[in-house]
Structure formats: C-alpha cells, structure tokens
C-alpha cells in the first residue's frame, strides 16, 4: 500500500526539525557579514556538534521514558578527564580517548543501574549522580587547565579538504557506529518498547532492563564523546557548574525540538541532532542581528518560546479532545 506515507509519518518529527534548522541557518548565513563560507559553517558546526552529542545522549534516555539530568555533568567530567589523559604520543592519546569513553560508559552505567535496578525515578537519581560527577570533575580540575593532543584536536575541529567541517564527519561516524546499530538492535527496540509501555513490553518478553541499561550506558558514552569534543574545541578541562547545567537543559530543548517525545517511545537521535543544531542557531542569530546586548537574553528566550510552541499548532487540528491526553 502507501508505504511512503507510513515512512513520512515515522520521520515527521525529524523532518520538522530539519526544516526548522534549515530555515534558521539560511537566515543566519545570508545575514552573516562573511556570508556562507567554509569558515562560518565550520564555526557553527563545531559549536553545534557538541550539543548534538549531548542531545543524542539525552535522546537515548528519553526514548526509554526516562530523563538524564546528569548529561551535562558527564560532559564536564569527561572534559576534565580528557584534559589530563588525551595527550602525548598517538598511542597514549588513543589510550586516553578510550579511557575517557570508558569513564562516560561507567557514568552512564551507574545512572542506568540506579534507575533500573535501584528503581529510582530518573529525574532525581540523575540530579544526584550529576552532583557526584560534577564533584569528581572539580577534583580533577579545581581550576581550568590541562591540555590535549593539539594535532588531534585541530584535525577534529578543522576542515576536511578545506571545506567539510571534520566535526560533522565525526558526528556522522558516531551516528553510524552508535545510533544506527543501537536503534536497529533488539536492545534499541526494547528501549523504545519500554518507553512506550513498560508493562506491555514486559508482558511481551522484551528484555526491558537490558534495553534500558544499554540506553543509559550509551548515553554516558555519547556524553563523553561530547566531553572529548569540548576538550578538542577548548584545549582545556574546566568544571564549570553553570555550563554543565546549561548543557543538560539545552539537551532537553534540543530533544524536544527534534521531535523526540518526552513521554518516551518515540523519536530519533537524528531528529535530536537537528534540534541541537537549530537550537544553536538561535544563539547565532544574535550575531547577525544588531541587538542591544541587554536585549539578547530576552531575544533568545522569546525565540525558544516560539520554537517550542510551534508544535502546538498541530493541536488546532485535533478534532477529538481526548487526543489532548496522549
């Protein structure tokens, strides 16, 4: 029958996010003094990719109908760790990268274990673990500093063939290596199933716990990829509390803009990536429009408010009021 219709329906959230992003990005680049140049794209990409990783991490957890309020802190912690470990010879650097990813994995796994086996509500559990991760980050970097293998950092934040931002390529690789296999695996499906209806999934013999656990653990890994990129981008580690919190909150905004349902079971990390890029472009718009600096926070707030309200227009098409309630 009309397969493409089903396909379209499945991808609607992602496509909407893509649409919002493209419109915003066009507005941005056409008004940018330097125009649509490789440099401008690279700058935007480096900044956007960071949030995209964190948003992907958040997506995995949100799909299970959970939420991870510690992603930002895992980002900070792994950033601090990377600023110690990702240095030296190529071999040392490689080991360092592995160690950082492993740390992210451990953080995510702890979250997962507490939520799944400890049966705690994810919001508070991750508020608490977030404090712990931040504390460890602060132990590692009481004040900003450290360094990173600059060759690797430059390579990953630079441009491929002088045009394509390497960070975007890295993002693509992570999507292919982490997201695609996960979402198509039995465990990924279990994560979706658990998020959509945990009882039904349990009754159907779905490996819910493992699915959810893997989602949380991979979220930790993705956040640590974000932490690595933060290090590549800044050459340092810093345990900046406010910044960790804002990454967490931004990741939620990105996920929602990306069409991932906070109620679980629905959405894709690809959507969340575009959500993240769109969200970042809101900030960029400040640059091209001449706003009084005092008005800038308000402008950003209002754009965010409008963006999150966009989805509400679908509401006017709802003819059966019961559909308001899920």
């Amino acid at each position: 029958m009309k397969d493409w219709r089903y396909l379209l329906a499945e991808q609607r959230g992602t496509l909407l996010a893509l649409g919002i992003f493209i419109v915003m990005f066009i507005i941005y680049t056409t008004n940018h003094p330097a125009g649509f140049t490789a440099n401008v794209v690279q700058t935007a990409a480096n900044k956007g990719v960071l949030l995209a990783f964190v948003a992907m991490a958040q997506t995995l957890v949100v799909i299970t109908a959970g939420i991870d309020l510690s992603v930002g802190m895992i980002l900070l912690l792994t950033n601090c760790l990377a600023s110690w470990l990702v240095v030296g010879t190529p071999l040392e650097t490689t080991l360092g990268v592995i160690a950082v990813l492993a740390a992210g994995l451990v953080c995510g796994a702890i979250n997962g274990a507490i939520v799944i086996y400890g049966r705690l509500q994810p919001i508070v559990a991750t508020i608490a673990t977030g404090a712990v991760y931040y504390g460890i980050g602060l132990l590692l970097r009481p004040f900003p500093g450290g360094s990173v293998n600059e060759d690797l950092a430059d390579a990953l934040t630079g441009k491929l063939f002088d045009v394509i931002p390497t960070s975007l390529v890295a993002l693509l690789v992570v999507v292919l290596v982490v997201w695609v296999p996960f979402s198509r695996s039995e465990f990924g499906r279990a994560a979706y199933a658990a998020g959509s209806s945990e009882t039904a999934a349990y009754m159907s013999g779905v490996p819910i716990r493992r699915g959810k656990f893997i989602a949380y653990a991979l979220a930790g890994v993705l956040a640590s990829v974000g932490g690595l990129f933060l290090t590549f981008f800044t050459y340092t580690g810093e345990a900046a509390y406010a910044s960790g919190n804002s990454y967490t909150l931004f990741s939620i905004a990105a996920v929602v803009l990306g069409g991932v349902s906070l109620f679980g079971g629905k959405g894709s990390a690809i959507g969340a990536i575009f959500g993240a890029l769109a969200f970042r472009t809101i900030g960029d718009l400040l640059f091209v429009f001449d706003f009084d600096p005092l008005w800038q926070p308000l402008f950003q707030g209002v754009i965010l408010l409008i963006a999150v309200s966009l989805g509400a227009f679908a509401l006017f098409r709802v003819r059966n009021r019961l559909e308001w309630f899920l």
Binding site: R189, G205, G265, R319, R321
Partner: protein
C-alpha cells in the same frame, strides 16, 4: 481426561495480593490438541492463574510441570521459550511501535546483529494472514489502530511465536462477530495441529462453540472440571456464581413513554466518522446503538458529551438547542448528562486513587461548598451508592485498581449516578464482565430508566441489545442505517443491518478498521 498425558500441569498453586487470595491451591491440566475453556466470574482468579503459567506472576506456592518435568518461569520471556504464549487480557502491545515490530517483538529476526526489517515484515505479514487480519498494514503504528484491530494484532503476534500452549485471556472481548468467526477458524486449525489452547471468555456462546473441556473457577479455586457440552448453561453459570441464576434481563415496560425527547440529534456530522445522524431519546427509554464495532458509535457518544470539535448539525436537550463544549458542560445541572466511557482503566478511573476518591470525583462540584468538600455529605452519598450497586470492596480507602474488573465497572457507573444524571450514555459497559455483574447492570439500567433517565446504550453484544433496549439504532459507516423497535430487535435483524445487507451490496466485507 481421555487418558492422555497432560502436556502441562499446575498443582496447588496459590497467590496472595496483600489480603486478597487471588488463587487458593488451584489445579489445572492442559492437554495437547484440545481447547480448554476457563470460566469464572470477575475476580475468580482466571487471569492470575494464566499469568502464573506465563511467567508474569510468581506463585506463592505450588508446582508446575511441563512434559512431566517441573518448571518455573522467571519472566514471560522464559515462558515463551518453553512454548507457552499468552494473549493477555490487558493488551500487551506497544503503542508507539509498528504492527510488525510488535509481532516479532520477543524474538526479532536478525542480520549482522541488527534486526532484519525485511524479514520481520515478512513474518508479520504471514502471521497477520494466519490470524485472518491481512487488512492491517504491518507498518501502521499500533496506537493508531482501533481496539478490535489491536486484538487481531495480538493474536497474530501470539501465532508468530509458534507456541505449544496458547492462552487467550478474553482475547475476543472487543472483537466483532466477523472477526470472532475468523479467529475461531484459526483456533480450530491450531487445535488440529496439536496445540494446547486455553481459552478464557465471559461469552458463553463462544465457549460452547469452541471448547473441548471446561474448568470453572470461583474465589481462586477450581470448583468444577467437565467435558464441554455435559452441562447446561444455567448449571455452568450457577457453578460460577455459586447461586441460582435466572432471568438475566429485566422485563421491559409495555409501551414507550411519549414525552418530548430529552436528548435529540439532528443531522449530526463529524469529520468522516459521523454522517448526518438524527436520533432522539426520551425519558424512561433505553435506546441501543448497534452495528459492527467502529462504525461511529463511540464517536457519537463522545459528540454528545462535548468531547468532539467541529461538530456539524444540532444537539437538542429538552427540545432546546444546546452547545456542549466539554464533559463539564455536559454534566452540568441544566443538561445532566453522564458518560460511562469505553475503557474504564484509562478513561473511567484513576486506578491508584481510593475507591472513595473515585466515587466522588465526578460529583465534587456538588459535594463542595466554596470549593471545600463536605465530607459528611460525601460519605452519605457514597454509602448509598455502594449499597445500591452492591460494590464488593475491602474498604473505601483502598486503591480502586485492586478491585476486580466488574467491581471497577460498578464504581465507574456509581460515580456518575452520584450526580443523578438525566441522560446516561453507556459505551459497552459490560465488556469483560461476568454474567452475575452483567445482570446487575441490566437491572440497574432499567431501574434508572423507570426513574426517568434517558439512556443511550452502545454494546458489542447482540444479546444485550435485544434484552435491554426499547429501540436499537444500527450504525454503519457513521450513519444510522436502521431503527429496530420492540419485537423487531432480533439477532437476525441486528446482524443483517450491521452488515448493511438490507441496503446495497449484500456481501459487505468488514474491513473498515485499518
């Protein structure tokens, strides 16, 4: 039992939930190649029994053997592995996933460690075909399907697991006659293929048609086990409810009252689901809504109750045009409407809240002065209702979710009666409810009508429509195709008009669902 070795045996199984004894030393034997029906009133322990079999519930005591070897299942997955597959009473489909995803959910086909979506679709299509539901698109999301289609998906899903023992716990409660027929064919075929089937239903005619062997449960024990056909319906019912049973439907009054209609619709249309519906219900009248499931009956009730937007046509209350924009407006004093919704668990009740809180929930505005609840008045009214409906509960301050289905349904009805509604809309109120409770509900309906209520009653059960209604309107594709009055309400007439045979094409296929 025919001397055959039982495939599966349960002995002395007990399960308690707090103070409730769901199962008390229950026994059961299941043989390959036969259909075993389990009967019992609501809360008798049927679901608990099969949940134990299926690894959902851990029994407190007792043993289970499969092929003579003792087994215990840590999870539904483990039971599946052993070949026991269950279609649960509460559907176990995942709403946000596609039909195909759902069908293969427990053991998806894989390629390179990832789910092979092509193979999955293949499997799904085959399973749907076997279940007689090839009209369902494997890519459709389950949440977009109506309840009857979901039950078909559930059956397909069970078949895809290639079970040795297949359990159906009220798996047909929302199905239309046509679907039931298809499912029965499938079940009979499975029996001939050597499967053991366990079948739970409150519909006696289904059991009569299908079962080889029957076991009756009461209060968590199996009270009788007999070969199908060896007991009369009345005997079975008496076994179930533990008392004598007769006259399931109350007598109807001789003549319909001739007052002006309390509720009237003129040319009501909505989206593509309701098409020019006109009807009227008078005080003292029970008007039935018939037809195949999904022909707009539910939408019609929701339309009256102020839930639907963009309604065209007129709704009149006491002959005056009314604009009802919300359930609140519908239930306000001037109109006095009540709706017993389709799904008591998500629409009728707040399961974790207490019986008390649920009972008074729809009448808070009446029980409160200046927003403060008059607790004495609340208690009085609740006592009245609990008495009137004979609600069986361990107390008013336990969660309503701990009541059995029938009693939950009574709570839903009671909570609306607390407002003394003049117009009562009932959306299939007896689904999955045992005969004893059904009878009480029928009597209540008639009593309310006699006291002057106007009742609009949708049911998927033709017997009910015949037994309870003064008139029946048969809906087809969103419009009223036929009105049956008094003695004209026969099973034949209902089915014929439900399939729209009187009008045009005689061999209408029932495929409106997907």
């Amino acid at each position: 039992m025919d001397g055959a070795v039982p495939l599966f045996r349960m002995e002395g199984i007990s399960k308690r939930y707090g103070g409730v004894r769901a199962l008390e030393k229950a026994d059961l034997e299941v043989t390959a190649g036969s259909i075993h029906a389990i009967l019992g009133e609501n809360g008798a322990g049927k679901s608990t029994l099969i949940k134990t079999m299926a690894g959902v519930v851990a029994p407190d005591e007792g043993r289970m053997t499969l092929d003579g070897r003792e087994v215990s299942f840590a999870s539904p997955a483990a039971a599946n592995q052993a070949g026991i597959v269950c279609i649960f009473q509460e559907l176990s489909l995942i709403p946000e996933l596609s039909v195909a995803d759902n069908i293969v959910i427990s053991d998806p086909p894989k390629r390179f460690g990832m789910i092979d979506r092509r193979a999955q679709r293949q499997i799904a299509q085959e399973a749907l075909a076997r279940a007689g539901a090839s009209d369902i698109h494997p890519r459709a999301l389950v949440k977009d399907l109506p309840l009857s289609r979901r039950q078909m998906v559930e059956i397909a899903k069970a078949l895809a697991r290639k079970p040795r023992i297949l359990i159906l716990d009220e798996a047909t409660s929302a199905l239309t006659a046509a679907d039931v027929a298809k499912v029965f064919e499938v079940l009979k075929r499975l029996r001939s293929e050597g499967l053991a089937l366990l079948y739970i239903s409150h519909r006696m005619n289904e059991i009569a048609e299908l079962a080889d062997h029957c076991t009756v449960f009461r209060n968590g024990r199996n009270v009788a086990s007999y070969k199908a056909g060896t007991k009369s319906d009345n005997e079975v019912v008496e076994l179930m409810i533990g008392r004598e049973y007769s006259h399931i439907f109350p007598p109807k009054p001789a003549a319909a009252p001739a007052a002006t209609p309390v509720l009237e619709a003129r040319n009501l249309s909505w989206a593509d689901r309701l098409d020019n519906i006109s009807l009227s219900v008078r005080a003292g009248e029970v008007v039935g809504l018939g037809g195949l499931d999904g022909q707009g009956q539910r939408e019609l009730l929701l339309a009256f109750f102020g839930v639907l937007r963009g309604l065209r046509g007129e709704v009149l209350i006491d002959g005056k045009q009314a604009f009802i924009s919300s359930p609140k407006a519908a239930s306000d004093d001037g109109i006095g409407m009540a709706l017993i919704p389709e799904d008591r668990k998500t629409e009728g009740l707040m399961l974790p809240m207490t019986v008390r809180e649920n009972l008074s929930f729809a009448a808070l505005d009446r029980l409160a002065k200046g927003g403060i609840i008059d607790r004495a008045a609340e208690q009085r009214l609740i006592d009245d209702m609990v008495g009137l409906l004979a609600i069986k509960t361990a107390g008013l301050d336990i969660p309503v979710g701990a009541l059995s289905g029938g009693n939950q349904q009574k709570v839903v009805i009671a909570k609306w009666l607390m407002r003394q509604p003049r117009i009562i809309l009932l959306n299939d109120p007896t689904r999955g409810i045992d005969v004893g409770t059904k009878q009480e509900i029928y009597q209540l309906m008639r009593k309310l009508a006699d006291q002057g209520a106007a009742i609009l009653f949708y049911s998927t059960d033709y017997d009910e429509l015949i037994g309870c209604c003064d008139r029946v309107l048969v809906l087809y594709d969103g419009s009223v195709k036929r009105e049956l009055v008094g003695a004209d309400i026969t099973e034949h007439a209902l089915i014929a008009s439900a399939l729209n045979i009187h009008g045009e094409g005689a061999d209408m296929k029932q495929g409106a669902g997907a």
